[in-house]
């Protein structure tokens, strides 16, 4: 009936699921705290999207997402270190498997150096270390949109020495022991999809806003960088390690940050540091930590609602392996015993629409090319602390095209993953 439809279903226009061609910037004012604009790398608000010839396809995005998830699962399964060697690097550094870059979908722009140079970096809560490509690109730099950072043109760049405490701290932030070139500390970080960056460990003045300036910010000045970084200038790590931007700015912001990721086809979002300007309508769930995997932000998923009904899923299903929140993973992954009932309930409530073939890892897809609007069941996630979070319609469906619109969830291959 009409009441059920209104309360438990989203009525959406198919066009809202497809990429937009025009940027419509948010009108919300986030200027109270230290706030940076967040844009989707492939959306019309990103200056990186101008490189359309190199833009990833939906299938490539999902394949890279699977690579990232595999590497996260690998790290969390306490596997032994993969003794990969960066054979092409001047400084050969053994590297563990880190998180894959995946599709690195969201970008923020920060300022580095004196005078300040703006750099667009991949936004990642699933890793810790911040780095950017640096001149003279002694071995290799991939093509990026912004001018490459040149430390020789900055009055405030300093190399970190090999015998310093900061150099020793690199091991946990990059999952690789630091190297040494003459007296300068050398970092190496390798990601699960074989992307990597190697370079000098340095400090520099970081400018978030004109009134939020951090001298001596520790970062990687990359001299050999290859992989799936798109046209970004590098990566900003928002994990828990002492070298993450969250920890390095803790004296001012108290390890408090927030963001809103824009939907792919809409406008811009933000990344804000500090408590100022935080909404009062928040619902809080415990943020958990794991001493064996200290970088990640663990959360307690307790249930899922579809169309107003809580799915019958045993609590032990979510407890077996736990869960993390990650800005760099595109599609939410669930234990098989949670994904299967979610898929069944969703298919049951979408049975009036014709199904379509699977899209990479997404196995529940619909051909909606003959519709301008559709009604889809609302989905909420339940978290510890009795918190219910309703997902936006854009958080439920992922569209390759109007003829292939898919449930935006995937199952892990094993309950223990």
């Amino acid at each position: 009936d009409e009441s059920t439809l209104k309360n438990h279903f989203h009525t959406i226009q198919i066009s809202s699921l497809l990429p937009a061609s025009v940027c419509s910037p948010s009108t919300k004012d986030h200027s109270k705290g230290a706030s940076l604009k967040v844009v989707h790398k492939h959306g019309p608000c990103s200056h990186l999207s101008k490189e359309k010839a190199n833009a990833a396809t939906v299938t490539q995005i999902l394949t890279r997402d699977e690579s990232r998830v595999n590497s996260i699962q690998s790290r969390l399964s306490f596997n032994l270190v993969q003794k990969n060697t960066l054979k092409n690097s001047k400084a050969s550094i053994p590297a563990k498997s880190g998180s894959s870059i995946g599709s690195g979908n969201y970008i923020v722009t920060i300022g580095l150096g004196t005078p300040k140079k703006d750099l667009s970096l991949i936004f990642d809560t699933g890793s810790d270390f911040t780095w950017t490509q640096c001149e003279p690109c002694a071995r290799y730099c991939y093509s990026q949109q912004d001018p490459t950072f040149d430390p020789s043109l900055s009055k405030t760049y300093k190399n970190i020495t090999c015998n310093s405490a900061q150099c020793s701290a690199l091991g946990s932030a990059t999952s690789a022991s630091p190297g040494c070139a003459t007296t300068t500390c050398v970092y190496g970080i390798q990601y699960g999809d074989s992307s990597y960056s190697v370079g000098f460990f340095g400090s520099e003045t970081l400018t978030l806003t004109p009134s939020d300036i951090f001298p001596n910010f520790l970062f990687g000045c990359g001299q050999n960088n290859r992989g799936l970084f798109g046209a970004s200038a590098g990566l900003i790590g928002l994990g828990r390690d002492s070298l993450s931007i969250v920890s390095q700015t803790a004296s001012k912001y108290g390890k408090f940050f927030s963001y809103c990721l824009p939907s792919r086809s809409s406008s811009d979002g933000y990344l804000a540091f500090g408590k100022e300007g935080t909404s009062g309508a928040l619902k809080f769930t415990p943020l958990l930590s794991n001493s064996q995997n200290p970088s990640f932000y663990f959360i307690d998923i307790t249930g899922i609602k579809v169309g107003g009904t809580t799915l019958s899923i045993s609590q032990s299903v979510f407890k077996t392996a736990g869960a993390i929140i990650d800005s760099g993973t595109v599609i939410t992954r669930l234990p098989p015993a949670a994904y299967t009932p979610l898929r069944t309930a969703f298919r049951q409530q979408m049975k009036q629409y014709p199904m379509a073939q699977a899209l990479s890892i997404l196995d529940t897809c619909y051909d909606l090319s003959k519709y301008s609007t559709v009604s889809i069941p609302k989905i909420s996630f339940l978290f510890g602390g009795n918190v219910e979070v309703p997902l936006a319609a854009n958080g439920i469906l992922y569209a390759g095209s109007a003829s292939q619109v898919c449930l935006a969830f995937a199952g892990n291959s094993a309950a223990s993953d």
């Binding site: 948010s26 009108t27 919300k28 997402d65 998830v69 996260i72 969390l76 969201y106 809560t125 969250v246 803790a250 390890k255 408090f256 940050f257 927030s258 963001y259 809103c260 990721l261 824009p262 939907s263 792919r264 809409s266 406008s267 811009d268 979002g269 933000y270 935080t278 909404s279 309508a281 928040l282 809080f284 769930t285 415990p286 943020l287 958990l288 930590s289 932000y297 959360i299 998923i301 736990g322 869960a323 993390i324 929140i325 990650d326 760099g328 993973t329 595109v330 599609i331 939410t332 669930l334 949670a338 996630f381 978290f383 979070v389 997902l391 936006a392 854009n394 958080g395 935006a408 892990n412």
Partner: protein
């Protein structure tokens, strides 16, 4: 592990109070 990914986080205001050990969510955070 399960992973709460970025498609599902879209348009939510996601707040990390790392020191306080809590994670906050609010709807319609971007608009």
């Amino acid at each position: 592990v399960g992973i709460f990914g970025n498609v599902q986080q879209q348009t939510l205001n996601v707040v990390y109070d790392v020191a306080g050990g809590k994670l906050g969510f609010a709807s319609a955070g971007c608009s």
